[in-house]
Symmetry: C2
Subunit: 136 residues, 2 copies
């Protein structure tokens, strides 16, 4: 199972998008909604900030989205967190003296690429706004 960071990120971004009173929107408050630690929240927000999805200012409560929810795809969020990392791991150094071992890595990469493309399409098709609509 993949870790829960993607879930936490979507939760955080949803809160930022829907909370009108910015002074209320502290890492402590967000942590209370997500049910985790404020530092975990700030750490995740740091990642999303680096990816250009939001801004914040040291010392001041509140965060601002830099992308409209309707323009923020789940794929963009996913990539902000995981980078270009492969989804499935391939075992290291299979035996090159074996017909299977020699070509298995390359073959699996092809398989995983097609699987990943299918996921990508789904993530691209859904935006933060879609999530917000379902949270109503």
């Amino acid at each position: 199972m993949v870790n829960s960071r993607f879930s936490v990120a979507i939760h955080i971004l949803s809160l930022i998008a829907t909370t009108s009173d910015k002074s209320q929107l502290t890492s402590d408050y967000i942590a209370g909604s997500v049910n985790t630690n404020p530092v975990v929240v700030r750490r995740m927000i740091g990642v999303l900030k680096k990816a250009g999805l939001l801004t914040s200012q040291t010392g001041i409560a509140g965060y601002d989205l830099l992308v409209e929810p309707k323009d923020l795809t789940l794929l963009a969020i996913y990539q902000a967190i995981n980078g270009p990392e492969q989804l499935f791991a391939i075992h290291d150094e299979p035996n090159p003296d074996c017909t299977v071992g020699r070509k298995i890595q390359c073959t699996l990469e092809g398989v995983y690429t097609s699987v990943w493309h299918a996921m990508e399409e789904q993530l691209q098709a859904q935006t933060l706004q879609d999530v917000l609509d379902q949270l109503r």
Copy 2:
């Protein structure tokens, strides 16, 4: 990143499907091709056996597929290993007193279900035979 078990399973099944001399096909030999430990191989084979993909007999070298490579989808292999497990984790117990927290789990499940379906289709569309063809 997801663990490498799926990759290892496909590798093992490919070897079983392509090795004609069964007395050669020991867990030790397979481990040599995969580049891992014989026990890791036997452990994985135990899982695949429980799922009904192959047979073996204590004390005798060799394994036999119970499903023709052309009928063995990568989805079947994936499910043999991972069961019905969700792909993405969702964080526990978000705050029910919060509009977002209250409905985020349900919403994310919907999102992940659509993503998983897309993956499923890709895995269903490819068989072990397709993999074997690419290993040539």
